[in-house]
């Protein structure tokens, strides 16, 4: 049976995983892979790096399951590992920009739009956003990714990044402003 994030049986599955049940951990991976992968992709900007970062996140989560406090939301704990790993990766000053021609991108779009034209338009818009994201500092990117692609609240983001809620709001504010100014430079707003 498919595990629902934050659902009633999640605690039991986590408890099994903590006892070394890799099948139970597999259910957690299945449930949270999209959130972790999206965060990694939005932060790193490259499909293969995001895949590697997502795998590394789950590996670290498995190793650290013993230190997980059940009182904490599992998604927040997991995304915290992912965000810190991605920030570390970005700090290692990767050479080169994001791979916007990543062939995997097209295949992995989860958009349900059936029309090819709509898919292409959507993809172009997403690539614009993705390219602009790469111009932001890592911590700003993390805050945006957690807000928009992980649907977390300000308080949850603060719990992940270790910032105060005020600092998260300021980062969101500045990141949106930078993106807004960049996006409006070349496009006509609706």
């Amino acid at each position: 049976m498919e595990l629902v994030a934050g659902g009633a049986d999640e605690a039991a599955v986590i408890a099994h995983a903590r006892r070394g049940d890799t099948n139970a951990f597999g259910r957690l991976v299945q449930c949270y892979q999209s959130s972790v992968y999206n965060l990694a992709f939005r932060m790193l900007g490259d499909g293969s790096e995001a895949e590697d970062a997502a795998q590394e996140t789950f590996l670290r989560a498995y190793r650290q399951l013993g230190s997980y406090q059940p009182a904490r939301k599992f998604a927040t704990w997991l995304l915290s590992i992912a965000a810190h790993y991605c920030i570390d990766q970005l700090r290692r000053a990767r050479a080169g920009g994001p791979s916007l021609d990543d062939a995997a991108w097209h295949d992995t779009l989860m958009s349900a739009a059936p029309e090819p034209e709509a898919i292409i338009l959507e993809r172009e818009r997403s690539l614009d956003v993705q390219a602009l994201l790469q111009t932001l500092p890592a911590s700003y990117r993390a805050v945006l990714a957690l807000r928009y692609w992980s649907d977390l609240s300000i308080a949850e983001i603060a719990g992940i990044t270790g910032d105060s809620e005020g600092a998260v709001k300021v980062k969101l504010f500045r990141a949106r402003q930078v993106l807004a100014h960049s996006l409006t430079q070349d496009t006509v707003l609706p």
Partner: protein, 186 residues
């Protein structure tokens, strides 16, 4: 100016869905009269829409299997490391016992001083034994450190040197050895 800053804060709250009705009315009223803020709001709102509608991606098929395979490989590595640690700990214990015997025997009267004096007849012999003792100690400390983590060579060297100096001072300075040993040597 203060009003503009306040309105920009309202805009951010509105985007996060955290603006109450009264504040929303104030913002709307301000946007009708302030072209600067209206332009800012339009840009921010468009950005917010674009970010919100940007699609979620999937890691691709087989991701879970790849993660589980990586975990299995990690567990194999960890088991191999643990096994190596146990072997190192065993060697460390043996070397530790040898070191302790070498250090304590002449001092605790566990051996006949005459025998030790015969084995270490002069300063050169004392230094040779000390070198051997240093090697054993170095190996012991390194193995012990590697068993509990990454063993830095420098720490092992300093600890072994310190203990060797103590050993030389104790053995070379003991009456049983001093007279025949150091007298013969120099």
């Amino acid at each position: 100016m203060t009003e503009h800053l306040e309105m920009i804060a309202y805009m951010q709250s509105a985007l996060d869905g955290a603006l109450d009705d009264a504040a929303r009315r104030l913002l709307d009223a301000h946007l009708e009269t302030c072209a600067l803020c209206a332009r800012e709001w339009k840009a921010l709102h468009a950005t917010h829409r674009q970010l919100s509608s940007s699609p979620r991606l999937s890691a691709g098929s087989g991701f879970t299997a790849r993660v589980l395979a990586r975990i299995a490989a990690d567990q194999r590595r960890e088991r191999a490391r643990s096994s190596r640690v146990y072997r190192l700990m065993f060697v460390a214990v043996i070397l530790g016992v040898v070191s302790a015997v070498l250090l304590l025997a002449p001092l605790a009267g566990l051996a006949d001083p005459a025998v030790w004096a015969g084995m270490i007849p002069d300063t050169l012999a004392l230094l040779s034994v000390a070198a051997a003792w240093l090697t054993i100690l170095m190996t012991f400390v390194r193995v012990a450190l590697e068993a509990v983590g990454d063993g830095p060579l420098l720490v092992a060297l300093i600890m072994a040197l310190g203990l060797t100096m103590v050993w030389i001072r104790l053995v070379g300075g003991a009456d049983a050895f001093k007279r025949p040993a150091l007298a013969n040597g120099g």
